[in-house]
């Protein structure tokens, strides 16, 4: 089970999510205590996911890459996701070292040592295969060490930033 706080137009909503193992793409949630079932029809092709069915109500949506904006037919919404796990305790598999997910060239560094960064905040841009990949912070914390600078190439798995 995963607990999140999601702000919609500055109103907080408490969410608990349990993946449903009986049907792929089906999730059981409690939103502010209300049970909801979400079905993701394109669960097997995540890059196609632009709609979901919530309690038998289909929604086509547009979500910004940083999950700060959501658009559905009834309007455009300011969103903020707070992951209680990621934000408080250390995630199970991590140690705060942000490693290069692909070999490439650092084209931009957006943070400085000592800076406080939020979940989802851009840290740097890693160019690889002619594409700019924005690397964002998966946790809230302080930039403890900055191992790279613009113009530098990094190998796969190389530590670029450490956040504590």
């Amino acid at each position: 089970m995963h607990k999140l706080t999601i702000m919609v137009e500055n109103q907080p909503h408490e969410v608990e999510v349990t993946p449903n193992r009986t049907r792929p793409g089906e999730f059981t949630l409690f939103v502010d205590g209300h049970p909801l079932t979400v079905f993701v029809p394109d669960f097997d092709s995540p890059e196609l996911v632009d709609w979901m069915i919530v309690d038998d109500r289909p929604y086509e949506f547009i979500l910004s890459p940083d999950l700060r904006m959501a658009q559905i037919y009834s309007g455009r919404y300011d969103i903020l996701v707070r992951d209680k796990e990621a934000g408080s305790a250390r995630p199970a598999g991590g140690d705060g070292r942000v490693k290069a997910p692909i070999p490439g060239l650092i084209t931009r560094v957006s943070v400085e040592p000592g800076q406080v960064v939020d979940v989802g905040q851009p840290l740097l841009v890693l160019e690889a295969m002619k594409m700019e990949n924005e690397i964002r912070s998966p946790v809230r914390g302080v930039v403890h060490h900055l191992a790279v600078q613009p113009g530098q190439t990094v190998a796969l798995g190389e530590v670029m930033v450490e956040i504590q």
Binding site: F39, P41, D42, P46, E47, L48, V49, D50, W51, I53, D56, R57, P58, E60, I62, L63, P65, D66, P91, G93, G94, D95, G96, R97, V98, K99, P101, G120, P122, L123, V125, M129, K130, M131, E132, N133, E134, I135, R136, S137, P138, G157, M160, V161
Partner: protein, 498 residues
């Protein structure tokens, strides 16, 4: 008016019905099976419910249970599945849900082929000569006696069957018994009813349908005729309205007959009175279809009437929105049934994912489809992907518009029969409007490509460049630049934790 309608169907007809519901301010409830979850009707509906029954959209129990559970006041059955099922229409009435279609008695009368022909014959209209087979298991003598009433060549038909399905043509008495046996087996299989009858075979030159609308207040109108003589495996490929085969006198006669026949059945809601035309130009009533048809868009374009809207209004007890005098049939409309099937490969179904799906646009071009770019097309019994319908001032303009629309319609990911349609509509007999039901028997899809010098050179150039670009792309992972709903111009990857 209803607040909520459940649509007990899938694909393009479900999307078609949802559109009209939405325009009427009616909440639409869609159903879907697991393999249909990509269909546009699920995305467009206000509610979408998963079906669990192996009978899919045809499971009366499940459909009614959902309708009751969600508070739908009416059910639109579309075509096929629960359309033309009198028992289902009756159950709906019993449970207080409005069935959007003719009343059960009308459906029964329409589906009882022999009784229907008898009624129509008695009213003075021409019907094929037929004879009942009171017992499908009758002995040879009884069979031959019935056949003698009809005469050879004859057709063995299912009393419940639609045009063609389950039918057997018999040219000679020797073959009768075997034809009856196999027709019986097939009728039992398809319709769950092995009741048969014999009908004198008429070499048809044309199949014509007249679209009718009738409300509960006794108003009944027609929307002109459709020509549907281009069939492949009993499926109409192209329809047009009006028919190029009729002169004005014949047309008036046909319309009058259709309205008269619909009245004989106390017809309500929408349907089509169907005729075949023999080589001498005589109309024979064959049946009355008690439901909306795939090709209804052709009649909508020439009449300007939204047939689904009328269906819903009629079911809600409202009067027809136009009188016969207010309906002006103008222009010429044509419908091409675009199937996901491969004309180069025996028309085998062509499932896949639509990677590109660009609809033709411009004046008087309409496409009704459940597909969209990104949608998976599963292998299904019915390969209908899209109804392409165009209208022009006259037949020549309509034809040139259809040709243009077919050129412009871009479908990548599955093979369709659009190339077949391109050849059909450019065939001299089709262009001249002199084609008849024998046309498809003679027509051969030309599998050979146009090899004029310039086209071949250009194609060689394209393939050469594509080949070189692929060599350039020879790397383990192709960059995933496009179409991810998550990204816009740049990927944003959260970093990984080691």
């Amino acid at each position: 008016m209803f607040k909520k309608i459940l649509i007990a169907n899938r694909g393009e007809i479900a999307t078609r019905i949802i559109r009209t519901c939405r325009e009427m301010g009616i909440w639409s409830v869609a159903l879907y099976t697991p393999t249909d979850r990509d269909s546009l009707h699920v995305r467009l509906a206000d509610e979408a419910h998963l079906l669990h029954s192996p009978n899919r959209y045809g499971d009366a129990d499940e459909v009614l249970a959902i309708a009751k559970a969600v508070g739908a006041e009416a059910i639109h059955p579309g075509y096929g599945f629960l359309a033309e099922e009198a028992d289902f229409a009756e159950r709906c009435a019993a449970e207080g849900v409005v069935f959007i279609g003719p009343p059960p008695a009308v459906i029964r009368a329409a589906r009882n082929k022999m009784e229907a022909m008898e009624t129509v014959k008695r009213a003075g209209h021409r019907v094929p000569i037929y004879a009942e087979l009171p017992d499908a298991y009758a002995d040879e003598a009884t069979l031959q006696q019935a056949a003698a009433q009809v005469g050879y060549p004859l057709v063995v038909k299912s009393a419940r069957g639609g045009r063609g399905r389950g039918a057997r043509v018999v040219m000679h008495p020797d073959k009768l018994a075997e034809a009856v046996r196999s027709a019986r087996r097939e009728a039992q299989l398809i319709y769950g009813d092995d009741h048969l009858y014999l009908e004198r075979a008429i070499a048809p030159s044309h199949y014509l349908s007249v679209q009718v609308l009738a409300d509960v207040h006794g108003n009944l109108v027609h929307l002109g005729e459709r020509e549907g003589s281009l069939l492949r495996h009993n499926q109409k490929l192209i329809e047009e309205s009006p028919s190029p085969a009729l002169n004005d006198a014949q047309r008036s006669e046909l319309w009058a007959a259709a309205v008269d026949i619909a009245r004989l059945f106390n017809f309500q809601n929408t349907g089509a009175v169907e005729f075949l035309v023999d080589s001498a130009g005589h109309f024979f009533f064959t049946e009355i279809k008690a439901r909306i048809q795939i090709e209804h868009g052709v009649s909508e374009m020439v009449s300007g009437v939204d047939i689904v809207r009328e269906q819903i209004r009629i079911a809600a007890g409202e009067p027809l929105s136009r009188t016969q005098e207010q309906i002006r049939l103008e222009g010429w409309a044509m419908h091409c049934r675009i199937n996901a099937e491969d004309p180069w490969n025996d028309y085998l179904p062509s499932p896949g994912r639509l990677t590109r799906f660009r609809l033709p646009q411009g004046p008087d071009v309409r496409v009704d489809t459940y597909g969209y770019a990104g949608c998976a097309i599963p292998e299904r019994f019915d390969p209908l992907l899209a109804n392409l319908i165009v209208k022009g001032d006259d037949r020549a303009m309509c034809l040139s518009r259809m040709r243009r629309a077919l050129m412009e319609f871009r479908i990548v990911g599955v093979q369709t029969n659009a190339p077949l349609h391109k050849q059909l509509i450019q065939h001299p007999a089709f262009v001249a409007g002199t084609y008849d039901t024998n046309f498809m028997a003679r027509f051969r899809f030309d599998v050979s490509a146009n090899t004029n010098e310039e086209t071949c050179r250009d194609l060689v150039a394209i393939v050469a460049v594509a080949y070189l670009m692929r060599r350039r792309l020879d790397r383990p992972i192709t960059p995933p630049r496009f179409l991810s709903g998550w990204h816009r111009s740049a990927r944003r990857l959260p970093s990984r934790w080691a």
